[in-house]
Amino acid sequence: MRHLGTFSVALVLVASTATAQEEIYLKVTSPGLQRIVIGLAPFASRLGVDPVAASQFLNTLRADLDQTVVMGLLPEENARLVEAAPGNPGLTRQRWRAVGAQLLLEGSFSGAGNQLVVEAQLWELTSGEIAYSRRFQSSTSLAPTMAHTLANELVRLLTGKPGPFLSRIAFISDRSGAKELWLMRWDGSDPQQLTTHRSIALSPAWSPDGQRLAFTSFLRGQPQLFILRPTQGSFKPLSTLPGVNTSASFSPDGSQVAFAAGDGGSTYIWVVSSEGGTPVQLTTTRGISTQPAWSPNGRQIVFTSTVGGSPQLYAIDAEGTNLRRLTFQDTFADEASWAPDGVRLAYTTQVDGRFQIATLDLRTNQRTVIDGPGNNESPCWSPDGTMLAFVSTRTGRKQIFITDPVGRPRQITSEGNNTQPSWVALVQ
């Protein structure tokens, strides 16, 4: 009894320190590492440049640069202190450095009519050298896309991976009355409805190249798997096995799709060519096996199974061998999502009767549970692995949140119920 008493006191202490912590989902930067400060010099503009497109470009670029994990925009009050030295660009750049900028983006607009030409140079101010230089030309209507492309390349320069600015999130929303498939920009802007089936759409999953979207629909009565090419509008069935066909996940090369299907009491993991064909059954254990997630190197598939009683995460090699259990500390584990590094998983766990997001490092087996308000579920990594999208009920209905550069949650949907995010780098 005494032992138990001490134990519960210790638990209470742990719990109270845990709630005092800030709700940080991803520690993407190591402690003490600060974001690189980038200054945005005023862009020169030639006569004839469409002023609306030019200001759209700059506003988009400014917003993007301030939302990255690796860099932050120099505060406006510091930028205002910089006095340009006419005829002495070197001195002007040193003045940017003197107000705290480490990098300086200089640029100019030219082009006339419906064409916009942007020339941009990034200066590394400590060495005084040009780190990046590029000329963009496009129609004025694509000014925001040009800005996103430039911001992506600047992030790639610093991290080796492109930024998230052209990435999109597919999700399920009931804002039009029925559960339909929707698409939005990574920050929640520009939502587009992809299906108008007036049925139930579920569990969207992108092909890695951003051309195809697999999802489940009750369009024909039974839940069947379909493939949609959003840019072409083509739509065809992928798996129509008896019973349920659900939770698709593309292989990293896009050639195959893993999914869950079954009739009666059990569902199994199956694999089918993404062009269609006869599905091959991968697992044979009784109970519910569902939510497959193909690893980034293509060698294994993580899925949820109730074979041991409660839902837990298991892994199996893509050939159907070497089945093993991954989670042991959870009473519930579901909806695994692989980080692009192939080392970490994010998944849904249950703590004190509420769903919460957890991450599992497969090298160290370290499990981290994030204690957020409400129910938090359906985690999905950003294509570059620096952010997570997930669904939370903290503001009432189910809404999609993404993590900000510090790893804190930020709500990006508000209309209707919005669930099951699937994030892709570029829709083609």
């Binding site: 510091n78 202190l81 001195l91 040193q94 450095r97 003197a98 107000v99 705290g100």
Partner: protein, 137 residues
């Protein structure tokens, strides 16, 4: 009244030295023998004067370089005048430390005063004005 009174003239003639004397500041003139200093291609011509050599004892001085273009460099890091206090304060927090100014000889007097008054507000009590020896000496 189109005429100025004698009082007005007295006010004009008064030199406002209060900002610099409210703390006992010791101004040293120090010379260093160095090659012309180059920071990022920014040349600083130090004034030439006969002066005492750099003292070798005491706490390590903070060196501020002031270029002809009125750029302030803390070490080799440019710092805007308005951000200087914030950058210097942590360096001076550990106790009194002298500050050496390596200012270009063509700098406007007003700019040097701006820097000095910033140092004064930070409680710097010892300021060295760095020079190079006159040619031929």
């Amino acid at each position: 009244m189109a005429f100025r009174t004698a009082d007005d003239f007295e006010n004009l003639a008064e030199i406002n030295i209060t900002p610099l004397v409210d703390v006992m500041m010791v101004l040293l003139i120090i010379f260093i023998v160095t090659a012309p200093m180059l920071v990022q291609g920014l040349q600083v011509d130090l004034p030439r004067a006969t002066a005492a050599a750099l003292p070798q004892k005491g706490p390590e001085p903070v060196v501020l370089t002031l270029t002809r273009d009125r750029l302030i460099l803390l070490g080799d890091e440019p710092v805007h005048l308005k951000l200087l206090s914030g950058k210097l304060a942590p360096l001076l927090a550990g106790g009194p430390r002298p500050v050496y100014l390596k200012g270009d000889q063509q700098l406007p007097y007003g700019f040097v005063i701006d820097v000095l008054s910033t140092l004064n507000r930070l409680g710097v009590e010892e300021i060295g004005m760095v020079t190079v020896p006159p040619t031929g000496s």
